[in-house]
């Protein structure tokens, strides 16, 4: 039994490591072709991060992780929720409105935070629910509908923001009403471990809770079983009694609700308002991380940290290596591609290996018992 676990572990880790190596190789090739300084780039990436940067990496990872969980819920069901981007925008806007109003009108801080989180989940779910209804009711591919909804969300939120805009003195940025300090979520200091005044987002707790909830829901409950079964074989799930249409809708709603939480650490730990410059692009990062981490709670956590690491180190690229920061996008893109290829190869190899192993074990059993059996071809 132990031998099998080690092998499975090895196989599980083989793919991402292989992907990393391939990504490094291809990126080096691109750098060589562009006549950039390969050595300087890698020195920058492998240089030990400063404590301040470590905090930044963890914080980035927190947000990425939430996005990845949202995407992963969909992936487990064979649904491609590319709309995480639009969903977290809508959710962050609504949550910021509610939190801004509540905290400035006397509601206690913790209550404001909780209400805002709920509002965020509901609005994210609403936005993804549109795509879910279109899929279940009209057979519209969620890939295209969620992408369209992203663009619609961007414009819609911009429109609404203009309507409620709160111009802070001396600033050009339009934002929602800033949240009062009573509702700010305090950061967590790692001062004992790493010497730095910077703090980790308090809502890292939220990310951990979401991760645990995701693991529990999918792995231990009946609902989770139905969801995984539908993703594995829609026809078998249907024949087994799963109400597939309802499941698709619920999965999209859950995915949207999780997506809604993506902006919350930023909202309550950093920006304290929603504005034009609220961080974009977190949705696609989440998809990549979910793919990299293979929809597994721990795998995605590791991948999120990796993403945060790469992002932070890349900041120094223009200064220290004379290369654009955007190189990190290339590295990330190549990583995702190589990892999905690697996973596919490993999966197929694994199936063949298991079939051989089962047949061999059965043959051994048979030899021991001396029982006849038909040949299977």
């Amino acid at each position: 039994m132990r031998r099998i676990d080690l092998r499975r572990l090895g196989m599980g880790a083989a793919a991402p490591i292989l992907a990393l190596v391939v990504a490094l190789t291809i990126t080096s090739l691109i750098l060589l072709l562009a006549k950039d300084d390969v050595g300087a780039v890698w020195r920058q990436f492998f240089q030990a991060p400063k404590p301040r940067q470590v905090i930044a990496m963890i914080n980035a990872a927190v947000v990425f992780y939430l996005s990845a969980v949202a995407a992963a819920i969909g992936f487990k069901m064979n649904l491609f929720n590319i709309g995480v981007d639009g969903q977290y925008r809508v959710a962050a806007f609504c949550a910021a409105l509610v939190a801004g109003w509540g905290s400035n009108n006397g509601l206690p801080g913790p209550l404001v935070v909780v209400i805002a989180l709920v509002v965020a989940m509901l609005s994210g779910a609403l936005w993804s629910g549109i795509a879910g209804l279109l899929k279940v009711g009209r057979g519209v591919s969620e890939v295209i509908s969620t992408i369209m909804l992203n663009a619609i969300a961007t414009n819609l939120v911009a429109f609404l923001l203009a309507k409620v805009a709160h111009q802070a003195t001396g600033s050009n940025v339009r934002t929602t009403q800033p949240i009062a300090e009573s509702a700010w979520v305090p950061g967590i200091s790692l001062d004992g471990i790493i010497a730095t005044p910077e703090k980790v987002y308090g809502l890292i707790v939220l990310a951990i809770l979401v991760g645990v909830a995701n693991w529990f829901l999918l792995g231990k409950t009946r609902f989770g079983f139905d969801l995984r079964a539908t993703g594995a074989s829609e026809t078998a799930a249907l024949a087994s009694g799963v109400k597939v249409k309802r499941m698709v809708l619920v999965a999209m709603l859950l995915s949207g609700a999780a997506a809604g939480l993506v902006g919350m650490p930023l909202l309550f730990g950093q920006d304290y308002a929603y504005g034009d410059t609220f961080q974009p692009g977190l949705g696609f990062a989440g998809i990549a991380i979910a793919l990299l981490g293979r929809n597994h709670p721990m795998g995605m956590a590791a991948a999120a940290l990796l993403w945060g690491y790469l992002g932070q180190q890349a900041v120094g690229l223009p200064i220290n290596a004379g290369v654009s920061e955007k190189l990190v996008d290339v590295i990330q893109g190549v990583m995702v591609l190589s990892v999905v290829v690697a996973y596919e190869l490993v999966r197929r190899g694994g199936i063949a290996m298991e079939q051989r192993r089962v047949a061999a074990q059965l043959a051994a059993q048979r030899a021991r018992e001396r029982q006849p059996e038909g040949v299977t071809a």
Binding site: R222, F225, A236, A239, R357, L362, Q365, T376, A377
Partner: protein, 531 residues
């Protein structure tokens, strides 16, 4: 279990054998499909290769057609040794294959399907059209080049497959289980076609496990068992029984009915069930009335596509009938959902276990949960009780003879027979009131087939009602207490399996009242109908 020395008939002076295979061996992960196969096919004959499900016949034919390469052994065509690395090589050597599962693109026309890959021969326009029409006439195949394949029935599709190989100038035709989807009348038509091909000097190799048909049409027979050749016989000098024994190695226990266990307590009742078909077409189910009592097996015979799948879907709740009621004992379950119906005690052995019965990449114990997520032992409140299910799985594996090293392996790594036994065990262990068994022994090796038949009979003795849908007339006759035939969505009157003949069933299955009135849809243009 020893291999009888192949008694090859002497080759006619001066003519090379059409095909010779010597020492062919092929291994797959964990399984030896072919071992040391010997085959000699005389030119201008119909040569049958017989063996039961899982004996290795299909693999052998794939080797002969270049889809797989043998690990060892030689192939000779018309006296010359060749290596077949791809279907193109086989086609160039004059070999044409008609697959058991038709290789036709539904959305393309007959012409497009036929010329695909052979566009250089007559182009893809009028010249090709003319050639196809010529061949169809010459061999009595009755297909039109511009028909859409999706519109054709099973018999016609098979003739398109034959046309495909003739178009390419095949002189050696391989047919893989051609009669598996045909009713007796269509089988006779096919054999008529084969005799015409033989008369034109072509060679036909014919794979089957239906011994009576083989004896009717073959000139030579090679028997394959457990992946290797056991005998080459002359059909004139062998009885069906002897042939069966060669095929199986020992006496095959055929399903025998014992004393009746049928009670008069109805368990499943369908009254006036109608189900609309696709828009603009006839009803999928037309006024179906049936009753199954406790302890009774009702067998439904029919050609694929006459409503069997729809019947299953209505009973299981996957689709709601447009009219009529479904009663489980006294309760109306017509508009219930699948989950509720299953919970109420309807078990289901699906026709396509890979698509509807299993999660191939999940471990066995999770597959045991499938279909019973809301029932004990799997369900504990809203959670899944993994430990209890695993224990149940171990019990099933033991009681139902599922050969597997552990319950943690994935379902996809088991053989077909063991997968099916697992499914049967899973359904039975919840003691259903009625079991829906659709083609329960399809693609299953003989040993597992016997086990499954026994299990079904045991369950019947225990008072379970069974709705058995099958294309295997032997299975239907052996297991059922009553047989009805489904045709164009409607059920025939009941037949007594003890007295009904195969011809009667075949006639009912095609809607013909006699042996010479096939449905107008796939009627060949000029044919003589041997009775």
């Amino acid at each position: 279990m020893t291999a009888a020395a192949p008694a090859a008939p002497p080759a006619a002076a001066g003519s090379a054998n059409a095909v010779e295979l010597h020492g062919i061996t092929k291994r797959f992960p964990g399984v030896v499909a072919n071992k040391d196969i010997e085959l000699v096919v005389r030119r201008g004959t119909v040569h049958a290769i017989v063996g039961e499900n899982g004996a290795g016949k299909s693999t052998l034919m794939k080797i002969l057609y270049g889809v797989q390469a043998p690990d060892e052994g030689t192939i000779s065509v018309n006296g010359q040794q060749i290596a077949l690395k791809s279907p193109t090589d086989a086609i160039n050597a004059g070999i044409g294959m008609v697959f058991q599962h038709f290789m036709l693109a539904d959305n393309l026309t007959v012409l497009e399907n036929v010329v695909l890959g052979a566009e250089r021969m007559h182009g893809i326009g009028d010249a090709a059209r003319a050639e196809i029409t010529r061949i169809a006439k010459a061999y009595g195949l009755g297909v039109r080049p511009d028909d859409l394949v999706a519109d054709l029935g099973v018999g016609a599709r098979q003739r398109v497959e034959i046309l495909k190989v003739l178009y390419r100038g095949a002189k050696i035709l391989i047919l893989d289980e051609p009669t598996a989807v045909l009713v007796p009348q269509e089988v006779d038509e096919l054999f008529g076609n084969l005799r015409e091909l033989k008369a034109e000097g072509l060679t036909v190799i014919f794979i089957s496990h239906k011994l009576d048909e083989v004896l009717k049409v073959a000139d030579d027979i090679t028997v394959i068992r457990r992946g290797t050749t056991v005998a080459a016989v002359d059909p004139k000098g062998v009885t069906p029984r002897k042939l069966a024994e060669l095929m199986v190695g020992s006496e095959l226990p055929s399903p025998q009915t014992e004393e009746s266990t049928v009670t008069d307590r109805p368990v499943l009742t369908l009254q006036g069930i109608d189900l609309a078909g696709p828009p603009g077409q006839r009803k999928a189910l037309d006024h179906i009335d049936l009753v199954i009592h406790a302890g009774e097996i009702l067998g439904i015979a029919g050609v694929e596509g006459n409503g069997q799948a729809e019947l299953v879907e209505v009973v299981m709740g996957i689709r709601e009938p447009s009219a009529g009621t479904v009663l489980l004992e006294q309760t109306d379950i017509s508009d219930w959902q699948v989950r509720e119906i299953r919970e109420a005690g309807v078990g289901y052995i699906p026709e396509d276990r890979h698509r509807h019965g299993l999660l191939l990449e999940s471990p066995l114990w999770e597959n045991v949960v499938l279909g019973h997520q809301t029932q004990r032992p799997a369900a504990r409140g809203a959670l899944i009780d993994a430990k209890a299910v695993q224990e149940q799985t171990r019990d099933i594996v033991k009681a139902y003879d599922v050969r597997t090293p552990s319950i943690m392996v994935t379902a996809g790594s088991l053989s077909g027979g063991n997968q099916q036994k697992l499914i049967v065990g899973r359904e039975m262990s919840h003691h259903p009131k009625v079991l829906l068994a659709a083609h329960p022994t399809r693609g299953v090796d003989v040993g597992a087939q016997a086990v499954i038949w026994d299990l079904i009979k045991d369950a019947r003795r225990g008072g379970m009602a069974v709705l058995l849908i099958s294309a295997d007339l032997e299975e239907l006759v052996g297991l059922s207490d009553t047989i009805r035939v489904i045709l164009r969505g409607g059920l025939s009157e009941p037949y007594d399996p003890a007295t009904v003949t195969r011809e009667e069933l075949g006639a009912a299955m095609t809607g013909a009242k006699g042996a010479d009135a096939p449905p107008p849809h796939d009627r060949p243009q000029d044919e003589e109908n041997p009775a």
